[in-house]
């Protein structure tokens, strides 16, 4: 048992760090220095997190819960933030943009995500998600003078405002039906029975829409390609792992936490959406010539595989989160490689001949792409394999077949990048250098993808504790 204040020490550390960064930016600290400060506060926050293992008690009068799932997800959020920071520090930013602001928003986004995953109340979930959304709009249009970036921010805002509005409406319906917003209270009320089922289902769909927007599931994925394209590479990488994982964590919290929601056809909807998400994502990625848009649609398709796990019972949830952890490393790695080896909005032609100009970088990029495609012996294969295993175990044969069929489809466009790097030659032979922080994030992700592919036990053991 720990007190409320003890529980939020990691978030407090991040808040102090964020404020210090904002001040540091004002007083003209160099970008590099600010980056180190941000990384330092994330590391300190992560260390402080180990002092708050999930004991199961509620804090802040039920607004937050100190459970093991929240604990694991908070750790994951810190990991995602750390990787994003490392990538940001290695990235070649244009000089005129303000670095302090950027790192401040990144830390603020981290705080809202850790609060969201440990929320014990629908209102808290809404507040945290809304905070994250607003920060994300700003991050998306970080290049203030760039038209694409502004467009990204505006589009993200319009879609986001709509979907969180719908979610809020759903939450209000739940309140009307259950008389409380406390997750445990709603659970008890649902178990007691006697709730108008169609209305409950409507509320469920509305909340689902809000969370599916964050997880970029079809049909709430429209924003993804445009926003990623306009946002700076590190921000796009962050969106593709942090908020997406958050969406899935909240889906688990809200939907699988309550059997009553589940009975109202959840699995059927999840299977249908999973198939739609992976298929549409892959088909859309197929014809992209911009590498960023291609990777954006690939991250939509990847969300489909994760949802396929969620749709396959309790072992499937484990498989989905195994997928999410592996995905975080391989997708971050792929985005980082693309960012360091090309420029914002580079198209496939820019990758020609990279096998010559940046042998190590091109090789590592290929590893991430092959892992995203799901080829053994890399971790991406095991992740997909577990999802298929669970789908078959849950007798979702169509779903398993769809995952398999989609992984063939996905190879086409992942290989297109590899082909450009190795098969095609360019006149330019000028070598490309990756800065040290960039090398660090690449090596970290590469190690994770290779080692977890051969030895997945560490992640599996953690998941066995989180989902007993």
């Amino acid at each position: 048992m720990i007190s409320s204040i003890q529980f939020v020490i990691p978030e407090l550390i991040l808040t102090c760090g964020a404020l210090a960064l904002l001040m540091g930016g004002v007083f003209g600290l160099r970008r590099k220095m600010l980056g180190f400060m941000a990384l330092f506060s994330v590391v300190m926050g992560f260390l402080a997190l180990s002092g708050t293992p999930g004991a199961g008690n509620i804090v802040f009068s039920g607004m937050l819960t100190n459970d093991i799932f929240g604990f694991a997800m908070r750790a994951f959020v810190f990991l995602a933030a750390g990787l994003t920071l490392l990538m940001s520090m290695g990235y070649r930013w244009p000089d005129e943009e303000d670095a302090g602001e950027y790192y401040f928003f990144l830390l603020a986004a981290t705080i809202s995500m850790t609060l969201a995953v440990s929320a014990g109340n629908l209102l808290m979930i809404y507040l945290a998600v809304e905070a994250l959304s607003i920060i994300s709009y700003v991050l998306a249009c970080y290049f203030k003078k760039d038209l694409y970036s502004t467009e990204a921010g505006l589009k993200y805002f319009l879609f986001g405002a709509l979907s969180t509005g719908i979610m809020l409406y759903g939450i209000s319906l739940v309140y009307g039906l259950a008389g409380t917003l406390d997750l445990a209270g709603i659970g008890a009320r649902l178990a007691a029975g006697g709730i108008h089922a169609p209305m409950l289902a409507l509320a469920g769909v509305m909340i689902f829409a809000g969370l599916a927007f964050k997880a970029s599931l079809v049909p709430f994925h429209m924003w993804v390609a445009d926003v990623y394209e306009g946002a700076p590479w590190p921000v796009a990488a962050f969106f593709s792992i942090g908020p997406k994982a958050l969406g899935f964590a909240l889906l688990v919290k809200v939907f699988l936490g309550f059997p009553a929601f589940v009975t109202s056809g959840w699995e059927g909807i999840a299977v249908a959406l999973a198939i739609a998400t992976m298929t549409l994502g892959n088909l859309a990625a197929f014809h992209q010539t911009s590498v960023k848009r291609l990777l954006a649609f690939s991250s939509v398709a990847q969300a489909g595989y994760m949802l396929a796990g969620l749709a396959s019972g309790v072992p499937g949830v484990k498989a989905a989160f195994f997928y999410i952890v592996i995905y975080a490393f391989m997708n971050m790695g792929a985005f980082a490689c693309a960012a360091f080896l090309s420029s914002e909005r580079a198209d496939l032609d820019a990758f020609k001949g990279l096998g010559r100009r940046a042998p190590a970088g091109a090789f590592i990029f290929s590893v991430f792409l092959v892992s995203l495609a799901g080829l053994p012996p890399l971790a991406g294969f095991l992740a997909k394999f577990f999802v298929i295993l669970c789908a078959v175990d849950a007798r979702q044969y169509v779903l398993a077949g769809a995952v398999v069929a989609n992984s063939i489809l996905a190879f086409f466009y992942y290989l297109k990048i590899i082909k450009a790097m190795y098969f095609e030659e360019t006149s330019s032979v000028e070598p490309i250098k990756v800065p040290l922080c960039g090398q660090m994030v690449l090596v970290l992700c590469l190690l994770a993808v290779v080692v977890l592919g051969l030895w997945p036990q560490p992640v599996m053991n953690i998941l066995a504790v989180v989902f007993p």
Partner: protein, 485 residues
């Protein structure tokens, strides 16, 4: 030697790491390193063959280590009479093709890097005893081969690389589904191939049939069985010579090996049901492959189609479901690897001199390249099944086996065999005989080219005169397989 097989599988990978350390300018050092590592693999495999207990039917040199216990996946490897010949073939062709890699001049370091990864994938496929591990090695072969064809291939290399990749990928993902399916079908759930050989035959006939067909589809693409064969001519023709040798010599055998390792022992009932299908497909492969080869004007494409034809014998042997058929089938795999490997090397020899593979550019080579004429005639005779050379033994056993249960198919196939004979004789005529065209000043085969072919010729001769040299290794394993049916 407790970890001999693991050593064999991962030695090529260690070679890749060693090559990665060498600066790309030192081409000769890279070549030598690759040669040393592949030589070491060959030596280790020979050691296994020497230590191999020929009276034992089961797995030998087994190693087992829990890998992902949550879903009972084990790293498990072992060798028996069926896989031993193919492992030896892989190591031998891997070494010789490495030795023959003289025409690769661009991006040499990358070439040998992916080549080494390919070696690990192939050796692992033949040695794995856990379906997931088998699948992983099976898939490991894909990407290196994609690069080898796509970067170092001929004019239409990209098209060929994509086609190869997606045909095989489509097959292997179906296999993945089948692997998951069989895991949940058997009790207790397992991926272990040794256990599955006992538990899978107990499954209901319908389930066996479905799983059999799924596995068969994956293997059929790789073998390749008509009508899934269209990737083969493109891939074989566009690949550089050493890669063609590996493709024809080893990669096709992964498919036929899968039939013996998975389809036959796991689904005996389904095999009985579908034996006619295998037999018919075998006969179609044999005759169609020969006819298609006959129509080619490209020397290499002709050899590629003749591979399709030879794979027909392997299928016929499996369909026979008796000792003669299985023995013939496995022996044919080995022989085809040796003979067709040599054939592709021989095509490479003239291609390097003529820079074309059109038959119209050749003719009369016997008078200017006598050594070449000897080797080509020798291998063509082996290929068409002249008694006394190795090709004959496997083909004869397969036909004898199939005659027992499908006599009509055997007769059709035997007639089809005539097409194969004509095919190779006409090829010899087109290339070697007649008047040499004007201004041809090609040198005869050099010492290196001869050195690569000598061991293959010796093996062809030895197996032809004394088939027991290979058969004695596989006899026990085949007997056990037949008994279990």
């Amino acid at each position: 030697m407790p970890h001999l097989l693991t050593l064999i599988i991962f030695l090529p990978l260690a070679g890749a790491l060693a090559i990665a350390m060498i600066p790309s300018r030192q081409v000769q050092l890279i070549r030598t390193t690759a040669l040393i590592f592949n030589g070491a693999v060959l030596a280790a495999v020979t050691l296994v063959a020497v230590l191999f207990d020929r009276t034992g039917a089961g797995m030998q040199f087994m190693e087992s280590q829990a890998w992902i216990p949550q879903v009972s996946i084990q790293y498990s490897v072992g060798v028996d009479g069926i896989s031993l010949a193919l492992v030896f073939l892989t190591a031998l062709l891997g070494f010789l093709a490495c030795f023959a890699t003289t025409m690769i001049t661009k991006r040499v370091k990358e070439y040998f890097l992916v080549y080494q990864v390919l070696m690990t994938g192939m050796l692992g496929t033949f040695l794995a005893l856990d379906l997931v591990v088998f699948y992983i090695f099976w898939e490991t072969v894909l990407i290196p081969m994609f690069f080898l064809i796509g970067i170092w291939g001929g004019a239409r290399r990209e098209y060929a690389a994509w086609k190869f990749f997606f045909y095989t990928l489509a097959g292997s993902v179906v296999m993945l589904l089948a692997i998951v399916g069989i895991y949940f079908a058997v009790a207790p759930h397992t991926f272990n191939m040794m256990e599955l050989a006992h538990t899978a035959p107990l499954l209901s006939a319908g389930l066996q049939g479905a799983l059999f067909l799924m596995f068969f589809f994956a293997f059929a693409v790789k073998i390749p069985v008509f009508p899934f064969h269209t990737w083969l001519p493109d891939a074989h023709v566009e690949a550089p010579t050493p890669v063609s040798v590996i493709l024809a010599g080893v990669l096709l055998k992964m498919g036929t090996y899968g039939l013996f390792r998975v389809c036959v022992p796991f689904f005996p009932q389904a095999l009985m049901t579908f034996a006619w299908l295998l037999g018919v497909l075998g006969a179609v492969n044999l005759i169609y492959g020969a006819c298609a080869a006959f129509a080619q004007t490209d020397f290499k494409k002709m050899i590629a189609y003749s591979s399709v034809s030879h794979m027909g014998f392997v299928l016929l042997g499996v369909a026979a479901m008796n000792s003669a058929g299985f023995n013939g089938s496995i022996l044919e795999m080995f022989n085809h690897g040796i003979i067709t490997g040599a054939m592709f090397l021989l095509v490479g020899v003239v291609y390097e001199r003529a820079h074309t593979r059109e038959f119209s550019a050749f003719g009369g080579l016997a008078s200017i390249m006598p050594r070449y004429a000897f080797f080509l005639t020798f291998m063509a005779l082996a290929s068409l099944g002249l008694p006394g050379l190795s090709g004959f033994v496997g083909e004869f056993l397969s036909l004898a086996g199939i005659f027992v249960i499908f006599p009509k198919l055997a007769i059709i196939s035997a007639v089809g065999l005539i097409a194969v004979v004509i095919l190779f004789l006409v090829m010899v005529r087109k290339v070697l005989w007649g008047k040499p065209r004007e201004r041809i000043l090609w040198s005869d085969m050099n010492a290196g080219e001869v050195a690569v072919l000598i061991p293959l010729c010796i093996l062809t001769l030895v197996v032809g005169f004394y088939p027991d040299s290979i058969l004695q290794f596989q006899q026990q394993a085949v007997d056990m397989l037949v008994k279990a049916l």
